[in-house]
């Protein structure tokens, strides 16, 4: 179970040591397990930054993030990150085939047997609507929407409590995206996971339990 609370959040964006934007304007956020949240807003309003702050790739200038009541600065960074699995923008792949790419996290997970890993890859591929014949292909040679599906499946592979997607769904066809989000919603409910995704598509936002709207220089 995850209860992520962000209080009085403020983040300054710098360019050559000059502040060019102040994001979030001391806003509060709360994310809990069993729910799916959509983050929306125009460009440069901090959608990606919010996800980076949650997984602690960046730290806020003001405000505190609490995980189950504990300020995240008090937690070990790498133990804290085990709770999350995020998909950041950009097609960066580590393996020669989509199948290996999806199970990339499994390389470092000694607890999961290889047979289970293979089964999990096939399960995830069907969950993200990726045809099985594409699993053998190099992810870099797939079409944009299939690359996005591989990235979504790769993110879901680890047994994290919270999944975050930064604009990944925007690369999908609307009907595929809706199907995948519905599948993910059922996983959220069954396995008590938290799912956060940044998108500007109304159709995808409609699938979420809550939409967090960010404003320019909010």
């Amino acid at each position: 179970m995850i209860d992520l609370e962000i209080k009085d959040l403020e983040k300054k964006i710098y360019d050559n040591k000059k502040v060019i934007a102040t994001l979030f304007n001391r806003r509060n956020f709360r994310f809990r397990s069993n729910r799916m949240y959509a983050i929306s807003g125009p460009k440069k309003t901090g959608k990606s930054m919010l996800i980076r702050l949650i997984i602690r790739l960046n730290d806020p200038d003001k405000g505190t993030i609490y995980l189950n009541g504990a300020p995240i600065q008090s937690l070990n960074l790498f133990e804290y990150r085990q709770y999350f699995s995020a998909c950041l923008p950009g097609d960066y792949f580590f393996s020669e085939s989509a199948q290996d790419e999806i199970s990339y996290f499994g390389l470092y997970d000694s607890e999961m047997p290889i047979l289970n890993q293979k089964n999990r890859v096939f399960t995830l591929a069907s969950l993200v609507q990726l045809p099985q014949e594409k699993l053998a292909k190099n992810p870099n040679q797939l079409r944009e929407e299939d690359r996005a599906k591989v990235q979504i499946a790769r993110t879901l592979f680890g047994n994290s409590d919270c999944f975050l997607f930064d604009g990944t769904f925007d690369q999908l066809k609307i009907e595929d995206g809706i199907k995948i989000l519905r599948n993910l919603k059922s996983i959220c409910r069954q396995e008590e996971k938290l799912l956060v995704f940044a998108t500007n598509r109304k159709e995808f936002q409609a699938e979420s339990d809550e939409v967090l709207q960010l404003r320019a220089f909010d």
Binding site: Q73, S74, L77, R81, G90, Y104
Partner: protein
């Protein structure tokens, strides 16, 4: 015993002619700039001459101390060369401080990496009975030079690839971190590529050791009339030592470069928290 075959100064010009023809072809067709060819040739002649001078100078005083000092002396130019190559690739840090850090990393990698085979060779060489001490010390120094120089080439290559890939693949590391991998695991693809590419020449060399490339040392021993089996064992000891020196040096260099660079992924937190650890314990509600 006189060697079976030796080259005198008046005969060596026979090999200079084909070398000059090759150089001419390379430069004439603009395959490579003449400066890039001239510098290594010039350096190889100078370095070989210096090596001969050193060996000649230390021979009358042949002792363990002198041999160790000579090996350490060989490490210095190798480290400088390696540090210069890696420093030239790193566009983010051009200061003298970064050069010095690369120099220290190269020196330590080469020193530690080549120590093990050099020590083993020492015991192997000096276990021979009825030995001529001066000649054996010379052989030991020459072998140490082979280990150091091969390790230097590998360390330089691995360091260059590490820095190049790091500069172009920062987002890839962040992608891995976002998947929940640890910092070391997120760098794993980078280690893999650097180590593989740096080891490729050595592995090829080992793969064709018995066929295409008759090793220099073995051919010299055979020419000197040594038993073939002994020459083979000696060559295996040399190949094994060179491989060990290269792999150990590469891994150490990777470790140093990783320690130097991983923190820059989190400048905000690094400045504030000092290597990601909170300054004081915060009470958990």
């Amino acid at each position: 015993m006189n060697p079976l075959w030796s080259v005198e100064l008046n005969n060596i010009f026979w090999i200079v002619i084909p070398v000059l023809i090759c150089l001419f072809v390379l430069v004439y067709f603009h395959f490579i700039h003449w400066q890039k060819l001239l510098i290594p040739i010039f350096r190889s002649v100078i370095q070989l001459s210096i090596l001969v001078l050193i060996l000649g100078y230390v021979s009358p005083y042949a002792s363990l101390k002198v041999a160790i000092f000579t090996c350490l002396f060989l490490l210095l130019p190798a480290s400088i060369q390696s540090a210069l190559s890696i420093w030239g690739i790193d566009k983010d840090s051009k200061g003298i401080a970064s050069f010095l850090s690369y120099l220290i990393y190269s020196f330590l990698s080469l020193l530690i990496g080549s120590s093990l085979p050099v020590v083993i060779w020492f015991f192997l060489i000096f276990s021979i009975e009825e030995s001529n001490d001066v000649a054996l010390f010379q052989v030991w120094i020459a072998l140490s030079g082979i280990a150091i120089i091969t390790a230097m080439v590998s360390v330089t290559e691995s360091g260059k690839i590490f820095i190049q890939k790091l500069n172009s693949g920062k987002n890839k590391i962040e992608t891995a971190l976002a998947l929940g991998l640890t910092m070391f695991q997120s760098f794993h693809w980078l280690f893999k590529e650097s180590v593989q590419k740096a080891l490729t020449p050595i592995l090829i060399n080992m793969a064709i050791a018995g066929m295409g490339g008759i090793p220099f040392f073995m051919s010299a021993q055979i020419l000197d009339g040594l038993n073939l089996t002994t020459a083979l064992y000696t060559q295996l000891a040399i190949l094994g030592g060179v491989f060990t020196a290269s792999v150990t040096s590469i891994l150490l260099m990777q470790k140093f470069l990783y320690s130097e660079n991983y923190r820059y992924f989190f400048p905000e937190r690094y400045n504030r928290d000092k290597r990601f650890k909170p300054r004081k314990k915060i009470k958990v509600r």
